[in-house]
Symmetry: C2
Subunit: 141 residues, 2 copies
């Protein structure tokens, strides 16, 4: 990243703090803004790095434990058919994972979420807090 | 997976053996059939499992090392702007990763590959072998 470009993850501009689920070892978990796919969670690395090979072996081990721990909580909370794990960085290169439970009744169960055109679903505050609480409860188990 | 459904990864039906790049610790690396995005590699788990939390902590650590090692080789071979790492399983639940270098000149650098409509690019045998050899060379470094 050029020195004159501010990383919006490092600057605290994204994700929104009211979407915080939990502070994990290497990453911080947030409920994704768009809940069209219920439970979609993003995990943001606590320091700036853009590729897995920029981390140490120990850090990669901790990172994949954070990913697996969140996936476990999502599995308990939503009983998905499958979970998608995606580390892309096409729009924001700072390492962040999309962990997306694909539930029974998914509109396109064989396709990646990015191909599914839909109106973004932003939860009203009470539902947002309820969903975050549900995931926090399962993360503690 | 129901007992009467055969996993095509376990059955050896996919990926094609002539696309083999390397036998790694937890996974086997193959060049993806469609090389529209040059260097797209798939890593297939050597045993049947469908979610990260079905593996042990040690296995997850080895798995992410395999992923990082292949990404390093792809970075050396193709000098991508960014690498995408995706564990989806929507069509084949057996754990397999798509590791996709996104090069300068990518037709949709800000989007996931799944949204990019294109004719699949199958390499003729000489180019296929050349690309596999290139990646093997970088994996040995």
């Amino acid at each position: 990243m050029p020195a004159n470009v501010i990383c919006k993850a490092c600057a605290g501009e994204w994700p929104a703090t009211d979407h915080l689920i939990a502070d994990l070892d290497m990453m911080t978990a947030y409920l994704f803004d768009d809940q069209f796919f219920p439970g979609w969670t993003v995990l943001v690395l606590k320091r700036h790095a853009t590729e897995l090979f920029h981390l140490t072996t120990d850090e990669r081990g901790q990172l994949i434990e954070d990913v697996s721990r969140v996936a476990t909580a999502l599995a308990m909370a939503f009983e998905p058919v499958k979970i998608n794990y995606e580390l892309l960085g096409n729009q924001l290169s700072h390492i962040h994972w999309h962990i997306i439970p694909r539930l029974a009744g998914d509109p396109a169960p064989r396709e990646a979420v990015w191909t599914v055109k839909h109106e973004p679903k932003r939860l009203p505050p009470d539902e947002l807090h309820e969903r975050i609480s549900l995931l926090r409860t399962h993360l503690k188990k």
